[in-house]
């Protein structure tokens, strides 16, 4: 029960963070990616702010055996840099640049009831499904 409440709570804080920082505005994101014209470096500060909080806490929690409301920590243990990672990150980057939306802000912007956000989220969901039918050989 508690982990459900905290999921909802962390999602809400995450969503407010995305809104406060204007990540939910695709034009703002494009402004950050637009280094060849007029560059708006604001979004770099979103990453700096987020990492400034989460990095020290991840470090402090590194020896903790279990989370408060679940059985164990689930962190990825893969360390290899393979073709899938590079190909996936590249495709994501191209899609991100085409629209100015990455998954979090796209979902958060559904709050604004903009038809184009809804279309983007549906397209993104179909992308998840499509990946099931493609096998990438490393």
């Amino acid at each position: 029960m508690m982990n459900k409440i905290f999921s909802l709570l962390s999602g809400s804080i995450f969503g407010i963070g995305l809104t406060v920082s204007s990540m939910t505005n695709p034009a703002k994101v494009i402004g950050f990616l637009n280094i060849t014209d007029k560059w708006d470096p604001s979004l770099m500060f979103v990453m700096i702010g987020a990492i400034a909080i989460s990095a020290p806490f991840f470090y402090l929690l590194r020896n903790k055996s279990k989370p408060f409301f679940d059985l164990n920590f689930e962190t990825p243990n893969i360390t290899i840099i393979d073709k899938k990672l590079i190909l996936g990150a590249s495709m994501f980057g191209i899609g991100w640049g085409m629209v100015g939306f990455c998954p979090g802000p796209a979902i958060a912007s559904l709050a604004l009831l903009k038809p184009l956000s809804i279309i983007f989220v549906i397209a993104m969901a179909s992308g998840f499904y499509m990946s099931k039918f493609v096998k990438i050989d490393n």
Binding site: S21, I35, F45, I86, A89, G93, P103
Partner: protein, 146 residues
Amino acid sequence: MMITIDMINFTPFSAFCGGILIGIAVILFFISTGRLAGISGIVNNTLTNTRNWLSNFLFLIGLVLGPTFYVFILNNDIPFFMTSSLPLIIIGGILVGFGTKIGSGCTSGHGICGISRFSIRSIVATITFIILAMITVALLKLLGFV
């Protein structure tokens, strides 16, 4: 190449504050559920996996409720401009879904959680997607699409 900074739209303070909130959310989610707040993974798992389904689903509900509260209850006016054409939005959306699935993460999973945990994989992924996104924006501008 000279980089010109767009000082009119530069908002480092609100960006930093939003980032702090995101960092708090990441840690809160991690310490309570033991999982990383990578949004592409959470969305994908909600659609295709029954494990932790309700918890993932509630996180996404929160992701929408947070902004709803901020905009409609606290009455903040937030700008929203999407200039891409419909075909670009659809193709871009598919690429974001497909790419984050096979690349195991997005801006939150690799860019925030991964980098904060000093994962080399995530650092490489983040540099890759930021560079590719910048090239894409430059090309689309050059070709007159946006």
